[in-house]
Symmetry: C2
Subunit: 209 residues, 2 copies
DNA sequence: TTTTGTGAATAGCTTCACAGCA
DNA sequence: TGCTGTGAAGCTATTCACAAAA
């Protein structure tokens, strides 16, 4: 029975299981045990079994998990068994790096548009996309049925741009601006604060001595 | 009494409290209540009080928290009341964006070196740093007493580079490679997997309907 | 024998609720 | 009255430990 309450931390680990399964698949490994997955992810074997059991019955006692089918199942659960169109908003240094980031493509995220408001940037080609004015964004979102956006604009502009993204139909925002975004229900925000992450490291190596 | 077990999630929130306190300081706000901080961070007021109480007695009943002193205290706890030297390893798109990222500077992280192994990139100037060969890295780490590194190399190279970073004296690694890094005790790793983050968004907007 | 799936136990984190201070 | 600090309660997540399957 599929209880529809997969713990948040477990969902985050699904991406990591999948990452490792893809590595194993490349190496033509057919099966993997919870212990092996645990070692690769630096967690306990019990954790692995519990997580995977939330999603269904994928393992075979005495054998382990079949790499291919488990990978397929995890992709299906994450929703990445299809291609997602993504736009990048903000064509500063970070935005441009995101436009060219191969990791997205490899996972089936296809950048179909880049937006900014600076005349100096509009028209320039970065990676797969030519920068357009933000005013064109709703059009592109509608035409390509875009649901995901990476937001890399200055923090002062983040909320206003977010409102426009949500109005245009965006449902998930990868937020690189160091701000909390207000979004309507049904829209998900995943914050990525690079400076805050660096601070966490500073804390951890300061505290430990 | 300072119990030296601040919960991990609480430590992560410290960065967010600080972020908001800095905003308030800019606006010359003198005091802030747990309720106001809670609203800004989209958490409960009880959570805010509990978190801050782990760190000391900063609030005054009936008044709230004084913005300046609390900010100073949080910076001290995080270890960011001083400047940290940082190196960036890997001068691909992401590495170059990190080199120019203003958010680090604003928080007192100073990029003092950039490294790669590709002859095509060595010698080039990106933001504050000229790219050097990775072989020069231990020298720079020693000379500037660098403890923090941002790692933006291909996943195949990540572990080997990490070993060299740790040997050189790096104690904290912001890891942009989609790999689990093996590090000796005393070295902290903070993973940033952009593709995995995007997957989490895909999941959340897929699951919700 | 190996390894899963899972109830039970434990640990960790958040929220409640209220005494006490300004 | 307004707001903090905090024990107690409640909830969530992880680990244990073992029966059952291959």
């Amino acid at each position: 029975m599929r209880s529809h309450t997969i713990p948040r931390p477990a969902v985050q680990r699904i991406s990591l299981y999948l990452r490792h399964l893809e590595l194993l698949a490349e190496r033509n490994v057919a099966t993997v045990s919870s212990g092996e997955l645990a070692e690769a992810l630096m967690i306990t074997a019990a954790q692995v079994r519990k997580d995977l059991a939330y999603l269904g019955q994928f393992g075979r006692p005495g054998v382990g998990y079949r790499v291919g089918p488990l990978g397929d199942a995890l992709r299906h659960i994450l929703g990445t068994d299809r291609t997602w169109s993504v736009i990048v908003v903000g064509a500063g240094d970070l935005g441009r790096a995101l436009l060219r980031y191969k990791g997205f493509t490899r996972k089936g995220f296809m950048v179909v548009g880049a937006f900014d408001i600076s005349a100096a940037k509009i028209g320039k080609q970065f990676g797969p996309a030519r920068v357009q004015h933000l005013d064109e964004m709703p059009d592109v979102v509608a035409r390509f049925n875009v649901r995901l956006a990476a937001l890399a604009v200055p923090p002062e502009a983040a909320q206003e741009v977010t409102d426009r993204l949500c109005a245009a139909g965006i449902r998930g925002i990868l937020n690189f601006a160091p701000t909390m975004l207000q979004v309507p229900p049904g829209v998900a925000v995943h914050p990525v604060d690079l400076a805050a992450s660096m601070e966490q490291l500073a804390f951890r190596i300061t505290a430990r001595r």
